[in-house]
């Protein structure tokens, strides 16, 4: 069952990668790898990360990656899986998701029994607005948490892959790191900013929705 999730996440990531090919370094795949690992465990995240680059590294309109760089890209992509799997084990993330689900169940409760129809409608609107505000609060915290984690994981990915693209062209590892980080910074900023937005907006509702429909932590998937 868990193995079957890898091609699903890979296909989703590749489809969005090719659809967004004209926007360099702005891709949803990092968020998908993170979501896969967060919901279904490290194996799904790492499997997805490697599968994506096994295809995207070779079939790419910008050209093939050489094997050394491909290894760095795969390893870098696995950082999102590690971040997702680690975060899913923290009390911070568990508490936020529990709160989110709790808020959603309150939202589903019937409102205004035993009152007149006009009053009931008014009560329903008031309660719905209040629920909407309350509902947005844990999303706000989730956005902050996932956005910051995504941003930091992206920074680690950029440092590693920029280092990897220079490591065999320079005469020391230190040189490769410095040159890679400085020359790659315009692309890194774009990548980090876009992932901050994606992790803050796409990941929290996706995880909350998955939980709501019963796609719980990896121990539920057998």
């Amino acid at each position: 069952m868990r193995t079957a999730l890898i091609p699903v996440f890979t296909a989703l990531s590749l489809a969005t990668n090719y659809a967004m090919i004209d926007i360099p370094n702005v891709k949803l795949m990092d968020a998908f790898v993170f979501i896969g690992a967060f919901l279904f465990g490290l194996e799904v995240g790492v499997g997805t990360a490697i599968s994506i680059w096994a295809v995207y590294g070779f079939i790419n309109p910008y050209g093939q990656d050489d094997l050394a760089l491909l290894l760095f890209l795969m390893t870098g992509e696995c950082l999102y899986a590690i971040a997702g799997a680690l975060l899913s084990r923290t009390s911070v993330a568990r508490d936020l998701i529990a709160k989110q689900l709790q808020t959603m169940s309150i939202y589903k409760q019937p409102i205004g029994f035993g009152v007149g129809s006009d009053t009931r409608i008014l009560l329903q609107i008031k309660t719905r607005v209040r629920n909407l505000v309350n509902n947005a609060r844990p999303y706000g915290r989730m956005s902050l948490l996932f956005g910051l984690i995504g941003f930091q994981a992206t920074f680690a990915y950029d440092v590693l892959t920029n280092f990897g693209s220079w490591v065999f062209k320079t005469s020391s590892l230190y040189q490769a790191l410095i040159i890679g980080v400085i020359t790659g910074v315009p692309f890194a900023i774009l990548h980090e900013a876009s992932n901050l937005v994606f992790f803050a907006t796409v990941v929290p509702p996706a995880i909350a929705a998955a939980k709501r429909v019963g796609l719980h932590f990896q121990q539920r998937i057998t």
Partner: protein, 183 residues
Amino acid sequence: MRTNSQRVFYLILGITALTIASAQVGAYYYLEKSNNGTVSNSSVLCNYLTNRPTGASMISASVLVSYGNGTMQWYNETAVPSSWNAYALTMYLTKCNVQARFYGPPLNEHFVTGINGVANQGSLSWSIWLFCQNTNAWAYSQVGIDLISLANGQTLAWVYGASSSRSNPQPPLPNARTVSSCS
């Protein structure tokens, strides 16, 4: 107790993110200010690129720079690390007096637009040639400068001259024998 530890967690995350963002913005500012999109001899990148490490395995390479007006400059049998490519070698020989536009990932390539103060102008541009020892002829490089790995005893040539998309530029030496590739 749990709320406090969560606050500390958020605080650490926030401070780390701010540090990363500041470092990235600083690096970007540095790149823009020192290079303005090109690599120049004022760049610290140049010092890193051309700082030869001790203990690295060395090879010797020769480079001819032909300025297109009859002036030719030979850099004979320069000892450089075997890990260098033609770009690093050119930077080293010219003391980083090279103008180049860098195309980042996924290309990671430099397009050289000027050497020793002579810059591309109109149809005049720099081209790089490889000397094929097996055929005793020059071959116009089919790959970018970053992809040219150095071999011991290799000879390269930079040629400044007219070029078009339909034909190869003029060879480094007048009437020199040329081949399409060294293999």
